[in-house]
């Protein structure tokens, strides 16, 4: 290998250069030279196997089956016992199986096949020149062919305390023994790692009576096998079973007392008691021996299609190898590898072509299956089916008329059928419509037309499981005049709860009415069959608390929504559960995520709040200083009586805000679906016509309402007299002061479609203005559709509806206002100050910066 040239191209990242040279991918399927060796060997070859695990023994079994007389076999094992089924350790831990049940090859197998088993004496080196291996005891064993099956090693995260007593991995029977010993004493266990292995360990310890906490670095459990929706279901189920699941938890330290583990502390400061800590964050191929012998190793031991390493006399198999760039940590690929290895070793080369893998979680009562590539991608199409009532989530991914991936939760009966379709790569276009319903339905042939399938159902067949509505009842409802999905939902309740039978009801409408089906209210977006109102109602009824939960329970047809439903759901949840729901930044439009307004060139404009349009020298100086310091190309007075600073880069925003904060200014929310400004005139304090203190009232209204999230932007104005200089009658909420009190106006708009306000009521005191304003805003927040301004909302529902909501009941204003004020207690922290203090810094900072050292070299 030639030494690396000095780099001419580096990358700067926070002041240091990062430059990594990656190994080149080696051609792995180069022709092997082994096949023609020793064709006429008169004596048996000596085959030495390093590793008495599943891969090593399986390979030997395969070889014996092909040609039992070919080799003298010696197997070295590090563990002092016979070969057992490692993937069954979980049931042993859970108490569902005993060690004897999981033994694959007993002592007899070794004796019967004249295999020498050297257990408890691991090989420590390989001498390729003399073709010998040396064991820890000093034993030297010569070989003609060597098979490395060293498996994988658990990955230990390098945190303080990782070597304390009581920190174990989950790899072999000794680990299980340690866990069982700990469980006998009861107490708490922390499992670090929410992957397959970690969850199985957690399940076992939980069944053994320990209080279990799972700490997982990623936001989704088993993120390599599951999508967000299935991960959510799994998390919910495990929590229901009493485990504490911490996602997004980054371990800082394992805390010890007298050399024994006592707790796990996360980087965010949370601490969990632990009498035992199971480290199950992943595995890496066991390559130490191979590497020190000078065999080619990348992530794993590099093998060709015949499982031969860079040394033709040495083969490798199992989790320690890297084949065509892939390393496997599951059992299924192992069987294929061993077959190919045996074929080649016995001179009938077949070749291994890599494996498509599937995963099943071995936690009793939880059915979870994942196979293939479910990450979507170009040309890939998702078919999703959710059945909330049964807790089922199914997703299959189809590409070029072939099944390429599947995730099943709750009902995995068809897992093997999907896996089979996937491995065979069969054309599924004929059964595509019915694919998601599983083998029984898809194979039905005649039922492929969904309408025909529904027509074939008997009258007493249940259509809606949630509300117990039969097919006959639905048809009766339709015949009685319910000509739309919505009408059916409101009349007989079919499809009105979880929505999973929507397709069936639509089929019945089509069958019964022919072309006369009326389309109902528009659905929220293409991801759901529910309207905005339905979604809002169901969030309350079903107590939905997160976006993945809402998508699951309401049968979203896409894996994670779209750019219209994500922000809408985020708002509805925020409005429904104030103080409880955690705002999802990735479901926010850029302006609300960066607390500034994006401009056509990708820079941002910044508008600090000027309460009621008032300012002072200190604020003006701070704004002037910011404009100069950050070289802002323009400052403009807005229509809402404040100043807008243009041309700020996203990475400079926190610094700009810090300077504005220092002068006492906070975010003006000029970017948000929220209160924008309260425009005022000068009022009775200065104006010779003014009747009330409109400026002072405007400031009070702005202090009460700032920071609130709404369905859309919301503007308020207060005019001191009917001359209406603050233009209060084209605002969402306008106050016009008169001698005898205050006229309150609502639903005005000065935008695309100008609409003058409707007069809502007249009140006598400022306190009443404040209460009605808070109540009106809360009614709008709770009832309007996302992205619906007050003007179209009032046109849709009618002014009488709004008046009724506010005034029909004497307490309504008070109750609505109280809900608004409660919600505001969580909203009035300046988002700019939070960002200045470092919150969400990665939204502003670049990942890194690339500086090609010699631009001209690349310029052509």
């Amino acid at each position: 290998m030639s030494p690396p040239r000095p780099p001419n191209f580096g990358m700067r990242s926070g002041g240091f250069f990062v430059l990594r040279v990656l190994p080149r991918i080696t051609e792995l399927n180069a022709p092997s030279t082994l096949m023609d060796k020793d064709n006429t060997a008169p004596v048996k070859e000596r085959l030495v196997v390093i590793g008495n695990g599943m891969a090593g023994c399986r390979a030997v079994e395969e070889i014996l089956a092909l040609d039992s007389a070919r080799f003298d076999v010696t197997i070295f094992g590090a563990e002092p016992r016979v070969n057992y089924n490692r993937i069954m350790l979980s049931p042993v831990l859970a108490g569902e199986k005993a060690f004897e049940d999981i033994v694959i090859n007993s002592d007899d197998w070794y004796t019967d096949n004249a295999i020498t088993l050297v257990s408890g004496d691991p090989v420590v080196s390989i001498d390729r020149a003399t073709q010998t291996v040396v064991a820890k005891s000093g034993r030297v064993e010569p070989y003609d062919r060597l098979l490395i099956a060293t498996g994988s090693d658990p990955f230990i995260i390098p945190v303080p305390g990782k070597d304390l007593a009581g920190v174990v991995t989950f790899r072999d029977l000794d680990d299980v023994d340690k866990m069982l010993t700990a469980a006998e004493k009861g107490g708490s266990a922390v499992v670090i790692g929410g992957g397959l292995l970690g969850l199985e360990a957690a399940h076992g310890l939980s069944l053994r009576g320990m209080k279990v906490t799972v700490v997982h670095l990623m936001p989704t459990l088993m993120e390599r096998q599951l999508d967000e929706a299935a991960g959510y279901l799994l998390k919910t189920e495990l929590e229901r079973r009493g485990q504490t699941i911490v996602t997004g938890g980054d371990t800082a330290e394992i805390v010890g007392r007298d050399g024994q583990v006592s707790a796990v502390r996360l980087k965010d400061g949370r601490t969990f008691d632990a009498d035992i800590v199971v480290m199950a964050v992943g595995i890496r191929p066991g390559t130490t021996l191979a590497k020190s012998a000078g065999i080619e190793v990348e992530r794993g031991i590099v093998v060709d299609d015949h499982m031969v390493t860079s040394d033709p006399a040495i083969m490798a198999v199992g989790e320690c190898v890297q084949h065509r760039g892939a390393c496997y940590g599951l059992v299924a690929p192992l069987w294929d590898m061993c077959r190919a290895l045996a074929d080649a070793a016995c001179q009938q080369p077949s070749g291994y072509e890599g494996s498509v893998t599937s995963t099943k979680l071995k936690v009793s009562g939880i059915d979870l299956f994942s196979a293939g590539d479910f990450s979507g991608g170009d040309g890939a199409e998702d078919i999703v089916m959710r059945d909330a009532a049964r807790g089922v989530y199914k997703r299959v991914v189809v590409k070029d008329n072939r099944l390429v991936g599947a995730v099943l939760y709750g009902d995995t009966a068809d897992g093997n059928w999907y896996f089979d379709l996937l491995k065979k790569g069969e054309d599924i276009s004929d059964i595509r419509e019915a694919l998601i319903f599983g083998q029984a339905f898809a194979s039905g042939g005649a039922l492929l037309d969904p309408n025909a399938a529904v027509a074939a159902l008997s009258d007493d067949a249940e259509i809606c499981g949630c509300n117990g509505v039969s097919k006959g009842k639905v048809i009766e409802t339709i015949n009685a005049g319910a000509c739309s999905l919505d009408a059916v939902r409101s009349t007989c309740k079919a499809s009105a709860s979880c929505g999973s039978c929507t397709g069936l009801v639509e089929s019945l409408l089509a069958l019964t009415l022919g072309g006369e089906v009326q389309s109902g209210p528009k659905t929220m977006c293409k991801c759901t069959s529910f309207s905005h109102d339905d979604v809002r109602r169901l969030i309350g009824e079903k107590s939905l608390r997160s976006i993945p939960q809402a998508m699951q329970e309401l049968h979203w047809t896409t894996p994670d929504g779209c750019s219209s439903c994500r922000p809408a759901l985020n708002y509805y949840l925020l409005c429904a559960w104030p103080g409880e729901y955690e705002d999802d930044q990735k479901s926010r439009f850029v302006n609300e995520r960066l607390h500034a307004n994006i401009q056509k060139d990708g820079t941002y404009s910044v508008v600090p709040r000027m309460w009621g349009g008032l300012t002072n020298p200190r604020e003006l100086r701070a704004i002037a200083d910011v404009v100069e310091k950050f070289n802002a190309p323009m400052v403009k007075v807005t229509g809402g009586q404040r100043l807008d600073i243009f041309g700020i880069k996203k990475e400079d925003l926190p610094a700009v805000w810090a300077d504005l904060n220092a002068a006492g200014m906070v975010s003006g929310h000029a970017y948000g679906k929220s209160l924008r400004t309260v425009k005022t005139c000068v009022g009775s304090e200065w104006c010779r016509f003014g009747t009330q203190d409109s400026t002072g009232l405007g400031v009070k209204l702005e202090r009460m309402t700032w920071g609130s999230w709404m369905p859309h932007k919301f503007k308020i104005a207060v005019s001191g007299c009917p001359r209406n200089c603050a233009e209060a009658t084209i605002k969402d909420f306008g106050v016009v002061c008169v001698d005898s009190g205050y006229e309150l106006h609502v639903g005005g708009n000065g935008g695309i479609k100008v609409r003058a306000t409707d007069l809502l009521c007249k009140v006598a005191t400022e306190a009443e203005v404040m209460d009605v304003c808070a109540a009106f805003i809360q009614l709008y927040r709770e009832q309007a559709h996302y992205l619906e301004r007050t003007a179209p909302w009032i046109e849709r529902v009618g002014l009488d509806h709004v008046k009724a909501g506010l005034f029909d009941d004497a307490d309504s204003v008070k109750r609505l206002a109280a809900r608004f004020r409660y919600s505001q207690t969580f909203c009035q922290d300046d988002p700019w100050a939070e960002r200045v203090a470092g919150k969400d810094a990665d939204l502003h900072q670049h990942l890194a910066e690339v500086r090609p050292l010699s631009i001209t070299e690349y310029a052509q």
Binding site: S2, P4, P7, N8, F9, M11, S13, V18, L19, R20, V21, L22, R24, L217, M218, P219, T220, E223, R224, D227, E228, R299, S375, G376, G377, D378, T558, P559, D560, G561, C562, S563, R566, P567, Q585, K586, S587, R588, F589, V590, N591, R593, L594, I598, K600, D601, G602, D842, L843, Q845, H846, L847, A848, E849, V850, R851, P852, I855, Y858, A859
Partner: protein, 113 residues
């Protein structure tokens, strides 16, 4: 010889469902995406429509919606989806052992306009 792949950092630096930016001096800025399903993509950070910063869009599945005019861009191909027509260059990317890598020759493939 020099590696073909440029290490741009650890995967933990990008929250699933978001993107981060990677300026390249003298060339187009790159947007590096991580989807909710933990796929990684790199595209020139310019919408084919009006050069909006795609990195700031809402990511859903393997699509980003441009923050300026709501064009939907496939992260996989860089193509505009639906009725819109246009394509933004993609940069071959791979993830290995928790690190993200971009194809070096593509990072400096195009001069900034």
């Amino acid at each position: 010889m020099i590696g073909d792949w440029l290490d741009i950092g650890s995967v933990d630096q990008i929250t699933p469902g978001t993107a981060r930016t990677l300026p390249v001096v003298g060339f187009d800025e790159i947007a590096v995406f991580r989807t909710q399903k933990n796929e990684f993509y790199a595209l020139v950070n310019k919408c084919p429509h009006k050069q909006g910063p795609l990195s700031q869009g809402i990511v859903h599945d393997n699509v980003v919606t441009c923050p300026l005019h709501n064009w939907n861009i496939s992260l996989k191909t860089g193509e505009a989806l639906g009725e819109d027509k246009g394509c933004v260059p993609t940069i071959p990317m791979k993830v290995d052992a928790g690190r993200m890598y971009l194809l070096r020759s593509a990072v400096v493939g195009k001069r900034a306009a």
